[in-house]
């Protein structure tokens, strides 16, 4: 357990520090050097990789931990590639909170996947969680876009105006994360179906899960469709992204309320 807990506690501390640095300019403090705002989440992610490598990715806690890891990595990519450090305002607390929640739930090994299907299962979990993280990033950039849009439209030139990235950059980051997140999640779900049929003796899924899962997929697909095919951009596209991720989140929470437990993620 120590090899799982210590890296997670280290990651928790580093993500917490990175969050504090991201929030500091809004409290009137000087922005931290880029080496720190990039280095802290990266160091936290490195520590977490060590912990996650010891886990079997079954159950809520390990999946939350992997989700936090992907969010931290996406935060670094957003800042390094898209020069959008404000993303850390959301990803920072989210990653910190998810690691804390995973630790509270207990980072045990969980049920092992069926023999022979380990690689398939790990790929399914990795792609699904990466897809979720990308959709969360699309949601975050959409929220940042709408906040910056409101400030610019209402001519308020305060901290949001100064510290948030330009609208166009947020829109591009939203586009990239949504367009990458949807097929990644879809592939992750297809791998789950393949795994169930091939290694777990068939699909044992509640019909409600199929119906609501399909509904979520359609909502997300619509958000991608209006962006890519109808060439929506800006505010309308931001609302579509928010609707897509909100559908995923609400349906998941509804399932967990209907069938509580931490042994299975879904």
């Amino acid at each position: 357990m120590r090899v799982v807990l210590v890296p997670h506690l280290l990651a928790l501390g580093l993500y917490g520090l990175a969050t504090a640095l991201a929030l500091a300019p809004f409290a009137g403090l000087r922005p931290a050097p880029r080496a720190l705002t990039l280095g802290l989440p990266l160091a936290g992610a490195a520590a977490q990789v060590v912990g996650v490598a010891q886990l079997t990715p079954v159950g809520v806690a390990p999946v939350l931990s992997i989700l936090a890891l992907f969010l931290a990595l996406l935060q670094v990519v957003s800042e390094r590639v898209f020069r959008a450090p404000a993303v850390a305002l959301f990803t920072g607390p989210l990653a910190t909170g998810l690691v804390a929640l995973a630790l509270l739930l207990g980072l045990g090994p969980g049920d092992a996947p069926s023999a022979g299907g380990n690689a398939w299962f790990i790929l399914h979990v990795t792609l699904s969680v990466l897809g979720l993280a990308l959709l969360a990033l699309a949601f975050i950039t959409a929220a940042l876009y709408l906040l910056q849009f409101r400030e610019l439209k209402s001519k308020r030139f305060g901290a949001v105006f100064r510290l948030f990235p330009p609208l166009e950059r947020l829109d591009r980051l939203n586009h990239v994360s949504l367009v990458a997140g949807f097929p990644t999640l879809t592939l992750g779900v297809l791998l789950a179906v393949g795994y169930a049929v091939r290694y777990a003796g068939g699909m044992h899924v509640d019909p409600a899960q199929v119906v609501w899962g399909s509904f979520t997929w359609v909502v997300l697909g619509s958000a991608v469709w209006v962006r890519v095919v109808r060439r929506w951009a800006g505010r309308r596209a931001a609302f579509a992204s928010i609707a897509g991720f909100a559908a995923v989140l609400l349906v998941y929470l509804a399932f967990k309320l209907a069938a509580p437990g931490t042994q299975r993620f879904l």
Binding site: Q148, L152, E168, A233, G234, R235
Partner: protein, 420 residues
């Protein structure tokens, strides 16, 4: 040895005076040669729209007067240039240049253009600068860079044109490759259009009632000219609209531009209305994805940034003070060897004269005894000189040797100029 700055700036002289003092690059060498003829050891001329300053190394008494003479000639109306200027010496001259380079002495606090102007001045004057000013300007550039990297003195848009660029930048990110539609062809429109063009914006269209002037500006900026009536359709494609006509009422109305803006498919449009009275009807700003800013908004952005920059002044001044002391320690170190040499030489002359006088009175001494007496005089002089020499060298190493050197020069009348 000393350094001086003689000149005028935006605080001491009005624009009408400053523009007469401004030197074209081709005139710099001539003016600096005149200063060298008047006894300057080296000189650099910094000439911008806000200042004309001569930095002088080893200035003889006549050099400041020579500067005022050069500037008075440029005024050419009987007024004395010295009435508009200042003279600062030594540490204060160094501090002045460092503050200039850091943007602390600029009309718009923290503006970065001055860094390039300081570099240009140094490069133009390199042949006449000499080693001390060479070092001074090199360090001034690094002080400017240090202030900008370690404080937030240069952040934000602190002027209306830069606020316009900043606002457009907050919508589009990089402005290079964007297109701008300029309404109006007056001086303000031309200035703002140049500002956008310098950011890489393609100023493709200039529309105005006086088509010929619009065409002239458009050609200058590599764009195309339109009449005002042709402009409305371009609201569908332009990224930025900059309006500065002299119309007494709003020319950009909802009725004229709403249909074109409706065809933008959600792409944002930034409208910068620089005219007073305003050119753009406020209702246009209510259209989806239209960001409308007038001159008051630009000034609000600029004022906000200026207030932020003012908060950084103490930190920037601390950096300047540190660097002045560092330069002065180096400068003091330069002077110590020739001054000590002269000090020793002067005392040795006294020793030799006194020895000669004594030996004349003691003519009965044997050559051996005479040599002993001479040896004694050398030893006595060395004993006397040892403590002050060590103290002076230690003071130089500690960074406060210059004042001690000056005292030494005054006490022993060491007035000779020392080369580097």
């Amino acid at each position: 040895m000393s350094i001086a700055v003689v000149g005028v700036n935006h605080r001491t002289a009005p624009l009408e005076v400053r523009e007469r003092f401004a030197h074209a690059p081709r005139d710099v060498a001539t003016s600096l040669e005149r200063l060298r003829s008047a006894g300057a050891g080296g000189g650099v001329l910094l000439s911008t729209c806000n200042r004309t300053e001569f930095y002088i190394a080893e200035p003889a008494e006549a050099v400041p007067e020579a500067v005022w003479a050069i500037l008075t000639e440029r005024l050419g109306d009987g007024r004395e240039a010295s009435a508009y200027g200042y003279l600062q010496r030594d540490r204060e001259a160094v501090r002045h240049l460092y503050r200039v380079s850091a943007g602390l002495d600029s009309m718009i606090l923290g503006e970065s253009q001055i860094q390039g102007q300081v570099r240009e001045a140094w490069e133009l004057s390199k042949a006449q600068a000499g080693p001390v000013l060479h070092r001074l300007f090199q360090t001034a550039l690094s002080v400017g860079a240090r202030v900008r990297s370690e404080t937030a003195l240069g952040t934000g848009a602190a002027s209306a044109p830069s606020a316009a660029v900043a606002l457009a930048g907050k919508i589009f990110g990089l402005l290079a490759g964007r297109t701008a539609l300029i309404l109006g062809a007056g001086d303000i429109a031309e200035l703002a259009a140049s500002c956008l063009a310098s950011e890489g914006v393609r100023v493709t269209l200039v529309a105005n009632r006086t088509y010929e002037r619009a065409q002239a500006i458009a050609e200058q900026l590599g764009g195309a000219a339109l009449t005002l009536d042709e402009a409305w359709d371009h609201f569908a494609s332009a990224d930025i609209v900059l309006s500065s006509t002299a119309a007494p009422h709003a020319v950009v109305t909802w009725e004229r531009v709403a249909p074109a803006i409706g065809r933008r498919r959600g792409r944002p449009l930034c409208i910068l209305d620089l005219a007073v009275p305003r050119d753009v009807e406020p209702a246009v700003g209510q259209l989806e994805n239209v960001f409308l800013y007038d001159i008051d908004d630009l000034q609000a952005v600029a004022a906000h940034a200026a207030a932020e920059r003012h908060r950084e002044i103490p930190a920037a001044e601390r950096i300047v003070s540190d660097e002045v002391e560092r330069f002065w320690a180096w400068y003091g170190g330069l002077a110590v060897v020739p001054v000590l040499k002269e000090f020793r030489g002067q005392l040795d002359q006294v020793r030799a004269a006194e020895l000669e006088r004594v030996l004349k009175r003691l003519a009965h001494l044997s050559p051996q005894d005479r040599a002993e007496v001479e040896q004694f005089s050398h030893a006595l002089l060395n004993k006397f000189l040892h403590p002050p020499t060590i103290a002076l060298k230690q003071a130089v190493q500690a960074g406060h040797g210059y004042s001690l050197l000056e005292s030494l020069k005054k006490l022993f009348g060491l007035d000779r100029q020392h080369g580097e």
